[in-house]
């Protein structure tokens, strides 16, 4: 949009001439915008579910190395809250493989507990847990099913990972407008599912303006809604990329909520070295939080409210 305006901008002349030009200018811009808008609308209308999801991933899953400091608040059905502080390291090794490490820093009794997840082709997710108090070993297979929640939260491992698009079919439903925002509505099915007779696994609400999934409803086999994930504190990171600084997962059946607040985010390979995803690193107390001055190089980190210097961050993707 900014480039178009630059193209249409004219140097200023006398007032009358300028007025006429301005009027023409306005008409022209309006016409072009309407044309462009109708083209965009037409383009959006013709997108399939899969195409929308590809666009989502293309826009927002661009960075292979992300370091995040998170605060997780667990809220039970009585409203009691548990707060945990964590660090999350993501490292995408290729398009279909990656490693993720979630480390607990607080409360002190669980400091050092780590959840290590690896994705290997073809779409094989392996999770291991490290309990410092138990001993120097990684305990494999924390959950048989990647949809199972982990470590007392309402999130499953898969909730925090990008969905392998090849594994699912995305059925586009009628768009919806919620408030002032238009959404694509996509139902996610297993690849072999009978989409006419089976309930979807999930329903994504994708903001049409930024192609960002702001809400995901999860259903059980009978089509009953049991979980809802919503994204808040949306921040543009530059270009077409957005990130939510707050993710809320609600277990509607158990009436629990798990809230992740990202207090710091760094897009940097240096923050996510390869040796991090090993037992040795975890055992040798290297998981302990780094001193503040080492932890946050000013050029690549988000601010306290998740603001990001995107130009610097972009460099880290190379």
């Amino acid at each position: 949009m900014a480039n178009w305006q630059n193209l249409l901008r004219r140097p200023s002349g006398n007032l009358k001439k300028n007025n006429i030009l301005n009027t023409l200018h306005t008409f022209l811009i309006t016409g072009l915008l309407l044309f462009a808008g109708s083209n965009t609308a037409l383009a959006k209308d013709s997108l399939t579910g899969r195409e929308i999801m590809e666009e989502v991933y293309q826009r927002h899953e661009q960075f292979p190395y992300i370091y995040e400091e998170q605060v997780m608040v667990l809220i039970d059905s009585s409203g009691n809250r548990d707060t945990r502080k964590l660090r999350r390291y993501s490292r995408l090794d290729s398009a279909d493989s990656g490693r993720y490490l979630l480390l607990f820093d607080h409360p002190p009794e669980v400091r050092g507990v780590g959840l290590l997840t690896t994705i290997q082709p073809p779409e094989n997710i392996q999770a291991s847990i490290y309990l410092p108090a138990y001993g120097p070993q990684l305990i494999k297979s924390v959950g048989q099913n990647q949809a199972d929640t982990f470590l007392g939260t309402d999130f499953s491992v898969s909730d925090l990972l990008p969905e392998p698009l090849g594994k699912y079919y995305f059925k586009r439903l009628q768009d919806e407008r919620v408030g002032e925002v238009d959404y694509f509505i996509l139902d996610m099915y297993g690849k072999q599912a009978d989409t006419d007779n089976e309930p979807p696994l999930k329903r994504h609400y994708v903001r049409q303006d930024i192609y960002y999934i702001t809400r995901t409803d999860s259903f059980d086999r009978h089509g009953r809604l049991h979980k809802r994930q919503t994204h808040h504190d949306m921040k543009p990171l530059g270009g077409s990329m957005w990130r939510a600084d707050m993710v809320l997962m609600e277990d509607l059946k158990a009436k629990h909520q798990s809230l992740i607040k990202i207090s710091r985010r760094v897009f940097s390979r240096d923050y996510v070295p390869e040796e991090l995803f090993t037992l040795e690193w975890l055992v040798n107390n290297q998981h302990m939080p780094l001193p503040e001055k080492e932890a946050a190089p000013p050029d690549t980190s988000t601010g306290s409210h998740g603001e990001v210097n995107i130009s610097q961050a972009m460099e880290t993707t190379n």
């Binding site: 667990l74 039970d76 059905s77 009585s78 009691n80 548990d82 607990f104 409360p107 009794e109 669980v110 507990v113 847990i129 309990l131 410092p132 108090a133 138990y134 305990i139 494999k140 297979s141 924390v142 959950g143 048989q144 099913n145 949809a147 199972d148 929640t149 470590l151 007392g152 059980d220 086999r221 009978h222 009953r224 059946k253 158990a254 629990h256």
Partner: protein
Amino acid sequence: MFTRLLMLGLNRQLASISFLLAVTLLLLTGLPRLSIDTGLDSLIPANDPARLIYERISGEFGTDNRTIIYIRDANLWTPKKLAVLESLHHKLAGLDYVSRVDDLFTLHTIRGKDGKVDSRPLLREAPKDNETALQVREDALSNPLIVDNFVSPDATVTAIIVSIREVRNDNNFNARVNDDLNRLVASIQTTFEEVVQVGSPRINTELKTSLTADFKLLGPLSAFVLVISILFFLRSGLAALIPLITSVVSILWTFGLMGLLGIPVNILSTMLPSLIIVIGSTEDTHLIASYFHELALGKTRDSSKSRRQIATRLTLKRMGLPLVLTIMTTVLGFASNIFSSIGLIQDFAIASTFAILANGIITLLLVPILLYHFGPIKNRVYQSSGETKGIATLVTDAFKFSQSKFPRFILLATAALCIFFIYAASKLHVTNDPLSYFPEHRPLIQDAKRIHEDLSGIKLFFITLDTGKEKAFQSPENIRKLASIQAFIKRQGAFDRSISLADYLAFVNREFRQDRNRLDLPESRELISQYLLFFHRSDLESYVSHDLSRANIVVRHNINDSHTLNQYVRELEVTLPHIVGGDIKTTIVSENLMINQAAESLMIAQVKSLSLLLFAIFLIMSAMYTSFKGGLIALVPAVIPIVLMFGTMGLLDIPLNPGTAMVAVIAIGIAIDGTIHLLSRYNELCRRTDDYLKAVSITVHEESTPLVTASLSLAFGFGVLLLSNFTVVAQFGALAAATMLFSIYANLLITPLIMTHVRLVGLHQILTISVDSEVLDNSPLFADMSNYQRRKAILISELNEFEAGDKLIEQGTSGRNMYLLLSGEVEVIRHNADESLHLATLKPGQVFGEIGFIRETLRTADVQASTPVSVLRFDYDKLKKDLKLFPNIIAKLNFNISCILGERLADAVEAMSQKSGNS
């Protein structure tokens, strides 16, 4: 005034009928507001401080209002059957009042195998193949938190535990929940071999259904039994109809008032119609029997109308006081339960007290009117001599024979019997458990038993440990304390199962260590905290508080006997401080426990009510018979049936429960009625004769028919309650019936034996005696005595009446009687050889025969009535006996007699000195 009050119904017939009609119409407006309450709240004392603690603890660790759906099938673990269970799970979870569903689909399990640890739901959804289903079975059986709790050890039974969020102030809530659960259970019944549900909603609904069934059955049946027994004993259709009329009106009044006051009908109230019919009819029976008696004694040549009117008036005159007294004592019996802290009993006490009072008022106002206008003329009970005929006579004769032949043996045997029964009563235990209200054979009880046998009991209580310190239950030491408590519970061997945070931690530890043979607790705070990460808050919310400062042990059991349960809980209470130390506060609580612990207050309330009632009756009887000894003696025949009743309970292992707890006080209230009737009649007869044995015999003869009739009718009526759906009501009926039979024994065998040794004076007689006060004022015998003392002295004496010419004293005979002339004139004539010397003419107030009274000597002159006279006769032996009962009066009389004699002596000395002076 009292007589006027008694005659109110007769004297103001229209006003009385109008009053009865108006009250009936007013109270009828309350009937639509009548509600039924089968909630368990009313079983817990309102002021129980445990209530608040319970509410706090159940708010934190979850409600104990849980329904267990029991599913049994030999092939439970198939995809198809598990899919049906999954569907059921979702249907249950979808019910708006269900706060939580715990079953195979919500259980979290951790499985350590081949160096891996699986932490996941036991079943996220029904498996698609047999292999997975069998794997789930194996996982469940390997989890000690699941076995015996959710899955039976042989895996043929599983349970769904449904936590219900109770909606207060909704009368139909439990019925709605029970219907929903039954519907859901029915929908899967064809898939499994057996599916049942047991929990508060079912218990509550069954209580309500049984209550309604009882209501429909017991009242009419009692009425039928009443009619039959009255027809049998009194052999009159109207005699059977009258109690029915008064009962129906009383029932309407009672339930109308309950509606107006917002007192709900509870399981005990189902007895009310029967009680009103049975107990209320006793007064009617006594009145009608007395009416027949008066009819038999009346003149047969009078017109029917006149005969029934006279008989009615005489009946009221004769029966009025005992009737009022018996109503009062019965009312007191019921009212004494008002002090119970258990709402169920208190509500019943209020309703039943009113019922008996209302029945008394209705009887006093209505029955005389009915007898006055429609009383039967044909009397098949009494012969013209007043003698009874029929079965009651047989009973009476049997008693009379034993009484006259072996009085000492009877008293000794009764004393021995009482001692034995008191010993038997010492084994009495209390229970208040709602499940014990139902008979053993009932499906509900059988289902609860099955759950207990295959899994764990449906009842539970919580043991909470409060450290007051955050994260205290991250400490291995505190976790060990939980385990120690559980080990103690296991050693007690009374409870089915206990679960705590320690079990969860031991289980995770076992799976991590992958050693199935060891269930060790983690040894460091860090490891405990890190293991806890494997659980969702919802997995642990029943066992530990959010801040880990409080822990909760859930104990499941199937103990239906409060006594046993309380005993074990008390043992736990004593042991807990030794295990946890002084820093941790422990509480044992649950709704079921509060209900069971209320059993203790049942016992306390029972003792309180009994003491209070006995004291009140003692006071009333002492006042009525103007002697504390009299009050005490009157209690004896009332206490004997109660001793026998408690002994029977001990012998037959019948517990003291909300039903049986009331028998004693109610039975005393009723049993004393017979005693009052006997004492009143005896007292009346004693005024006319100096032969107490004869008076006793007449009393028993006259009163035995109504007494036996009333007691047998009561026994039959109470016996009807045996058909109740509630064990507590049936036990109440059986015991009350037995107590009524015991009361026949006490009243016809013991009361007469006691009566022969006493002479009581009724307050009513003192107040109503009609004597010329001028005569008393002038009589030296009553000098310096208050009006009350004079009246009482008169009543201690015998009132004799003589016609003109009758000889009161015959010269030359010996006799130890002294007379006070009340009215008329007597001549004192001395016979010397052939001549008769007129010594004096005595006027009212004068005393004669005093020499013989003091010393056994031959009478020195005749005393003959010159006009019709009434005299008070004072018998020396009798007064000597009465000295024990009325020492003040007798002392005063003796003093006055000595004054009279002194005067006579002085006169004699003066006369002699004059004579010697003259000579």
